[in-house]
């Protein structure tokens, strides 16, 4: 199956939050009790029950107010740190379509993915001790449908398509509006792309990472320490086997009468 990309054209977003509701609706997520905190952003942050969120940023550029609404969800990295850090097989998988999908059934609640994610996306449920995040609607895209948020978007801000087509579209649109593509990093490809408006950089917005990378701790742990432990376990097992070959099976000593 082809690789897909979700393109988010921030210049077209009106902040209606139809995508937020569509996400909750499709994934059967409950509403949250929230409090007003001075912004139209609601809920305040992603959570176990909120996988996508419109983030409202008020920026002052050259004496002008810029109000930027950004659809924030999992970036579906090509080389996902969360799946790399995850110790439970099957709990976080990278699929052929490009989606990084979590499976709550196999999640052991260790929160390694939350610490590893360069975009701070996965969220834990303290009651269930499980994580959850956007799945790029894996159950929809494999059936030829678009993700729920993309289907619902009324302004055409969210679009979904094959990788090459969407990358080309993103750069064309960025050129037209004089903006930038985020994260435009050939070393760190993601299956979600943003077109940011003119004069707005990724570092101006909340909850972004202009220079995403796999955390060094995860790399050290998984590529250095883990193979060493595996070698260590193998050496112990091999040693035990050698011991068996050279010394033979354990013999039970007969107890002597009256002796210590």
């Amino acid at each position: 199956m082809a690789e897909f990309i979700k393109l988010i054209d921030v210049t077209k977003c009106t902040g209606c939050r139809g995508c937020q509701v569509a996400c909750k609706q499709w994934n059967g997520l409950p509403a949250e009790q929230t409090r007003f905190f001075g912004s139209l952003q609601n809920p305040k942050d992603l959570s176990y029950d909120t996988w996508t969120l419109i983030r409202f940023d008020e920026l002052e550029k050259d004496g002008q107010l810029k109000w930027v609404m950004r659809h924030d969800a999992c970036m579906h990295c090509d080389w996902p740190a969360c799946a790399k850090a995850c110790p439970s097989p099957g709990a976080l998988t990278k699929t052929e379509e490009g989606a990084v999908v979590h499976n709550t059934k196999y999640c052991i609640g260790c929160k390694a993915c939350i610490a590893a994610c360069p975009f701070d996306i996965p969220r834990n449920n303290p009651e269930l001790e499980k994580m959850a995040k956007c799945t790029l609607c894996y159950d929809r895209i494999t059936e030829g449908k678009q993700p729920a948020c993309v289907t619902a978007c009324p302004t055409g801000c969210l679009t979904f398509g094959t990788k090459d087509e969407m990358i080309e579209k993103a750069h064309k649109r960025a050129e037209k509006v004089g903006g930038t593509v985020y994260p435009n990093n050939p070393k760190y490809e993601t299956h979600v792309l943003y077109v940011l408006p003119a004069g707005v950089g990724a570092s101006d917005l909340q909850h972004t990472n202009p220079n995403p990378s796999m955390p060094l701790s995860v790399l050290l742990w998984k590529n250095l320490f883990k193979p060493f432990t595996l070698i260590g376990i193998g050496a112990v097992a091999g040693g035990a086997f050698l011991h068996y070959l050279t010394k033979g099976p354990h013999k039970v000593h007969e107890k002597k009468e009256g002796g210590e």
């Binding site: 939050r17 609706q25 499976n103």
Partner: protein, 185 residues
């Protein structure tokens, strides 16, 4: 817990095998994720809320609405939905919805549950009483008007076209002149 030698070897072997997994990120098809609307009947409908009239597909299984989403083939909305229309599922499935009629008597400070029949009769009686008291046959100039100025009607945005038609017919038959809609207030 007693561990025999053989049992210990089994456990050690299992741990060894388990430790071999999960060292890297391999691209693989994820588990089969069954689509929740599989084999459900698709019923096209129109969003009841505003005048745009976005198309919605209601997925129905065994007579129950299991999902609603924007209709991508609809000429007006092309699948798009605002948050209000997107939450339409909750019109059909909502545990916060009142299932009984609640009645608060004049001057009372608490709601009490009443039967539908009683409530409809009470509404009808109040309607007739108010209309009889405030009905005007002629205006100040003595011209025949036959109108009821003591009652106003407000339509809700969740009413569909046919319901609105029937409601307006009834209002006009009663002689109401103050017929408004929630969306205009």
């Amino acid at each position: 817990m007693d561990i025999t030698r053989r049992g210990f070897l089994k456990i050690a072997g299992g741990t060894l095998a388990a430790a071999g997994f999960g060292t890297g990120v391999g691209i693989k098809p994820a588990f089969a994720m069954p689509r929740k609307i599989q084999y459900a009947q698709e019923v096209p409908t129109i969003c009841p809320y505003c005048g745009v009239g976005c198309g919605i597909i209601a997925h129905v299984r065994n007579g129950k609405v299991i999902n609603t989403e924007g209709d991508p083939d609809h000429p007006i909305s092309k699948g798009a939905l605002c948050p209000k229309g997107g939450s339409l599922y909750q019109i059909a499935n909502n545990d916060k919805r009142n299932k009984k009629v609640l009645y608060r008597a004049p001057g009372a400070d608490a709601w009490k549950e009443v039967e539908w029949d009683w409530a409809l009769e009470k509404i009808t009686a109040n309607l007739k009483k108010t209309r009889d008291e405030g009905f005007k046959l002629t205006n100040a100039n003595g011209e025949v008007v036959n109108r009821c100025e003591s009652i106003a009607a407000i339509g809700g945005a969740a009413l569909d076209n046919e319901e609105v038609y029937a409601l307006t017919k009834m209002n006009r038959a009663l002689g109401l002149v103050y017929v408004e809609h929630q969306a205009r207030i």
